[in-house]
């Protein structure tokens, strides 16, 4: 269930200062071009204009716990068409980052994070593909973090320095 929350001006300020591009938040005048352009909104309850309005008003709890926050495919159609040049996708990233820090993260997404910490890739590397690579005349492992211990240690160290490993264990870092 969606929680109803009081406007929180401090939250709005945090969004505006949250990352590159999110300082365009208050430029939005609610024309709705974004919602009308959204391929996800065609099929789901995701309403881009409403999300931006909630962020302007500081309705923190409603945004943080909402399922819709995760229905944007980051296709940038709304950004291209926005007459006010609001960096909608940048704002969405800031909001999602905040939700993750609050502990709102899907189990499937945690698995991707864990895979990153394990092999430096978003997807697992199966035996079948290894065999296929060899059959095709490619090396069994690609020259990436996969199968390269030093590179993987470095990659993991970068994530740990940023607190990513703790974030994957439940946020609030």
């Amino acid at each position: 269930m969606t929680k109803v929350s009081e406007p929180n001006p401090e939250f709005t300020k945090q969004v505006i200062e949250g990352g590159p591009g999110s300082d365009t938040l208050m430029l939005c005048y609610q024309c709705g071009t974004c919602t009308a352009s959204c391929p996800s909104g065609r099929l789901t309850a995701f309403r881009t204009r409403q999300l931006i309005r909630k962020a302007q008003l500081g309705l923190k709890d409603e945004i943080m716990s909402s399922e819709e926050l995760w229905l944007c495919t980051t296709c940038y159609t709304c950004v291209e068409r926005c007459p006010r040049e609001v960096e909608i996708t940048d704002i969405l990233f800031v909001l999602r980052n905040m939700a993750v820090r609050e502990g709102y993260m899907a189990e499937q997404h945690k698995k991707i994070g864990e895979n990153m910490l394990r092999i430096g890739a978003t997807i697992p590397f199966g035996e079948e593909t290894k065999k296929l690579r060899v059959r095709m005349g490619l090396p069994e492992n690609p020259p990436t973090t996969v199968g390269n211990k030093k590179a993987m240690d470095d990659f993991r160290k970068v994530m740990e320095e940023c607190g990513f490993d703790k974030l994957m264990k439940g946020g609030k870092s």
Partner: protein, 283 residues
């Protein structure tokens, strides 16, 4: 001057569709482009998921990849819209936001690395179009193709245009021209610029929503009787290819532009890895 790039493989091509990796290596060699190995490169990292989880981690991991190429003094070339989107945008942020630049370099210092901001991030299709050119490509076409093709641009090849400045976001033409130089015909279809549905972490979190978006695209592609979908992104490729297991009746094979060029340049079919596709290629 000869063209030389650090080849960024990403995750989905080498770990799911190695045919895309091999086809790219072969076609670039045929056109005299030298590809260096980016030893130890990691995930770009994926824009839809990792950037959604934590932008600092996203930026720092991207900077590590950029620093690996910078050490070789060559620009990065990707074969994936996701990798292109992530590293291009991360590079743009690092080059324009001194605070982020410092923060990220403080992290890289812990692994003895540094990024100075001198590298360009390139997409292989854009390299083909702008650096290599139609004449050179045409000269390599040994088997002119006569397929009717539905081109899928994906989202992060030309967008966001404010930083990419590559082509029109509503009616681009680069990929259509790159496809037609092989002899194939690019057929227009409804909502051609619409997303495949996989991005933004939607495929992993809410597979059924992603699938419904993919079905919209497949319906529109089927309505104009294309023989295949041509993409420039292994993740869109995966979404179209694997979704058709759950969406019977379409049977539209999915081919990455590098694989299409492989066919046109006369590479043996088995080197294109088309057998590994879920949606069988019978043309």
């Amino acid at each position: 001057m000869p063209h030389k790039f650090a080849f960024f493989l990403g995750c989905v091509a080498p770990l799911r569709y190695p045919g895309i990796e091999l086809a790219t290596r072969e076609i670039m060699k045929a056109m005299g482009v030298e590809l260096t190995e980016l030893e130890g490169a990691g995930c770009c990292p994926a824009p839809g998921v990792i950037r959604s989880f934590d932008q600092t981690t996203w930026l720092a991991l991207a900077a590590r990849n950029l620093a690996l190429a910078e050490a070789q003094k060559v620009d990065i070339m990707t074969i994936c819209n996701g990798c292109y989107g992530s590293m291009f945008e991360a590079n743009h942020i690092l080059q324009h936001h001194p605070k982020e630049f410092k923060k990220v370099n403080d992290v890289l210092a812990k692994i003895g690395m540094k990024y100075s901001g001198t590298i360009k991030v390139r997409h292989f299709a854009e390299v083909l179009y702008r650096d290599i050119g139609m004449d050179m490509i045409k000269a390599q076409v040994k088997n002119p193709l006569n397929f009717n093709v539905g081109v899928h641009y994906g989202c992060h090849f030309v967008k966001p245009t404010r930083v990419k400045q590559l082509d029109d976001p509503e009616k681009p033409k680069i990929l259509d021209e790159l496809v037609e130089v092989t002899g194939a015909k690019s057929i227009n279809y409804r909502d051609k610029m619409m997303c495949c549905g996989a991005g933004g972490g939607v495929r992993s979190r809410d597979a059924s929503t992603a699938l419904r978006m993919t079905e919209e695209k497949l319906k529109n592609l089927k309505a104009v009787n294309v023989q295949m979908i041509v993409d420039v992104c292994p993740f869109c490729h995966l979404q179209y290819d694997r979704s058709q297991k759950d969406l019977p009746g379409y049977n539209i094979p999915v081919v990455h532009l590098s694989q299409l060029y492989g066919m046109a340049f006369g590479m043996p079919r088995e080197k294109l890895g088309l057998d590994a596709h879920e949606t069988k290629f019978n043309l």
